[in-house]
């Protein structure tokens, strides 16, 4: 018999303690049955409970927005770090403490996680379309925070690329849905 402890005898305290590990389902069902007995509230549906537990921070569209902002921010952090902190031989010790670079890497990781979280509930087509705004965000950010002069021709190019990415979103979303 699997899940039963007979050592040294079933009523031994050791056996009682490990019985929860040996057959967790019965232990869990016991616990839940105790709970439902003690408070006689009608069980709410799981969906409702999940919605209640969610903080507004975890709203998928907010997470998508955060992801896009973080992607743009990471590029700006990296640019600042490269300009201000990196020294030419790459193995220079101070390079490993270039905090702008680390900030950029952290922003990339954060954006990836919020992107994955958002994709759990946002349709791919919308997510990809919004991701196309990234190119414009980076251009605006580098104008505002890095003080780069952006000629009109460069603006046109940036917008064309963004529109192109926007057009690609539908085939890309279809391709990823297949996976």
């Amino acid at each position: 018999m699997k899940g039963n402890c007979n050592f040294p005898k079933p009523s031994h305290p050791f056996c009682k303690r490990i019985s929860g590990f040996l057959n967790p389902e019965s232990a869990m069902s016991k616990a839940t049955s105790n709970q439902t007995k003690s408070d006689n509230v009608p069980a709410e549906s799981e969906d409702e409970a999940r919605r209640k537990r969610k903080s507004p921070f975890l709203h998928p569209y907010l997470q998508l927005f955060i992801s896009i902002i973080l992607t743009a921010a990471s590029q700006i952090f990296l640019k600042i770090g490269v300009d201000a902190q990196l020294v030419s031989p790459w193995y220079t010790i101070s390079n490993f403490f270039a905090y702008w670079i680390w900030l950029g890497i952290l922003a990339v990781i954060g954006s990836l996680f919020s992107w994955l979280y958002a994709l759990k509930s946002v349709p791919l087509i919308i997510a990809f379309n919004l991701a196309a705004t990234n190119h414009i965000m980076v251009a605006v950010g580098s104008r505002l925070f890095l003080g780069e002069a952006i000629s009109s021709r460069r603006w046109i190019g940036v917008f064309l690329v963004a529109v192109g990415v926007f057009f690609i979103a539908r085939p890309a979303a279809r391709a990823e849905e297949k996976l």
């Binding site: 590029q75 700006i76 990296l78 640019k79 490269v82 300009d83 990196l86 790459w90 670079i101 190119h135 980076v138 251009a139 580098s142 104008r143 890095l146 780069e148 952006i150 000629s151 021709r153 460069r154 046109i156 190019g157 940036v158 917008f159 064309l160 690329v161 963004a162 529109v163 192109g164 990415v165 926007f166 057009f167 690609i168 979103a169 539908r170 085939p171 890309a172 391709a175």
Partner: protein, 86 residues
């Protein structure tokens, strides 16, 4: 059967390691490029990865190119050309 699953698992690990390696190389390449160029000049070129990806899927995986995909690819190339000339 067991042998086959084991070999495919190790293959998957190899693929993952290769992906991480390539991404690391691309990250450092990106840093060295950022050192040389403005961010607003460089970032539109990132859009070209979709063009490469689409053509690779077309040639290697024999996927069909839809009309929207063609339009998008052409727009990206045009935009990148504009940025390159700026």
């Amino acid at each position: 059967m067991a042998d086959h699953s084991k070999s495919s698992a190790s293959r998957r690990k190899l693929d993952l390691a290769g992906g991480v390696l390539v991404m690391t190389v691309s990250f450092f390449t990106w840093l060295s490029l950022l050192h040389r160029f403005d961010l607003s000049y460089l970032y539109p070129f990132e859009g070209l990865d979709r063009v490469l990806l689409a053509f690779a899927a077309w040639l290697i995986l024999k996927e069909k190119m839809s009309r929207d995909l063609w339009i998008g690819l052409i727009l990206i190339c045009l935009g990148t050309a504009f940025v390159a000339g700026s």
